[in-house]
């Protein structure tokens, strides 16, 4: 099916709240979560998308989460992406395993990595993380232990001797600029030094525990 045919079929078969647009390889459906199972069933039955490729989530920060599914038609060779927004406070969706049995693993992984609940899932147990692991590591507010425990190799200035750990800045912390204070009259003016920088791409508030 061509993208235009899929869009026409969605317009005729799904409620108008379901957004539908062509993307670079197929069609993207933006589904309110109340219509999630209906949209999946529609993709499987009416759009002939019999191949379940993957299900995952995206942490959209203040806008909550998106759960995204990619399905494919082996006969028609067309791709369909389905995405649904979920609130950050209580991210829950009904399970897709009744429509695509292969979604079971993907929902288990999404559950442990993002903390998204899938109501009605037959066995929503952790899949990949070690026993007793706390937190959801693919959420953007999850602090990576390796970034806290390890010293940032870029903390040293060119030509500088190793910096003792105690003098290293916490990532994202505002550092006083040495030499910015006005020296007492007659005192030797200290050589101003560049502000010691923290590691890039590490959020504020992370740092040595």
């Amino acid at each position: 099916m061509a993208p235009e045919e899929i869009i026409a079929a969605v317009g005729g078969g799904l409620p108008p709240e379901v957004g539908c647009e062509a993307d670079h390889r197929g069609v993207m459906l933006r589904v309110p979560h109340g219509h999630w199972l209906a949209a999946l069933a529609f993709a499987r039955e009416r759009l002939d998308c019999d191949f379940f490729d993957w299900l995952t989530a995206v942490d959209e920060a203040d806008e909550g989460f998106s759960v995204v599914v990619h399905v494919y038609s082996l006969a028609g060779r067309h791709h369909v992406l389905l995405a649904t927004p979920l609130p950050r406070s209580s991210p829950r969706l009904p399970t897709a395993t009744g429509i695509y049995r292969g979604a079971a693993w993907h929902e288990r992984e999404t559950h442990e990595m993002f903390g998204i609940g899938f109501d009605g899932h037959p066995h929503l147990a952790p899949l990949l993380l070690p026993d007793g692991f706390e937190g959801h590591p693919l959420r953007k507010d999850f602090v990576l232990a390796a970034r806290v425990a390890k010293e940032w190799p870029g903390v040293k200035e060119p030509g500088e001797r190793p910096v003792p750990r105690a003098e290293q800045p916490a990532p994202g912390a505002q550092q006083p600029v040495p030499g910015a204070e006005r020296p007492a009259p007659g005192a030797e003016r200290p050589v101003p030094r560049a502000r010691r920088r923290g590691p890039p791409h590490v959020p504020d508030g992370w740092g040595p525990a």
């Binding site: 190799p153 870029g154 040293k156 060119p158 030509g159 890039p200 791409h201």
Partner: protein, 146 residues
Amino acid sequence: MTGATPSTDGLPARSRGVIALLEENCTVCMLCARECPDWCIYIESHQEPVPGTEYGGEDPARAPAGRGRQRVRNVLDRFAIDFSLCMYCGICVEACPYDALFWSPEFSYAETDIAALTHEQGRLREWMWTVPPPPAHDEGQRPPQD
């Protein structure tokens, strides 16, 4: 690619096997270590005075390089890449403004001890001799500017 005895024959020049260091070109600017998303590049250095720029006091005649401050240069003491952490993104190679880091297609450096995957300066330099020449420019391409 798949064969009984894997070799680098036939691999394109852009292959990402291992990262080589030409330490003469390294100015210890720290850009690669700071850009590395995996924090797997370790650099240690110190500063040495540049001969001939000693501060000669207030008398300009005695100061070979005028009355400015003593000039110093950075000297590399250690450059190591931990290939057990490296994800082969090549950001360090791209970030280096001084052509000190290069991709080599060599990939046969498996180890039984994870610590041995940290290649120090000497070993990174040995990879340098396996770096292929850059591919020829395309026909009709603008000539290189440098």
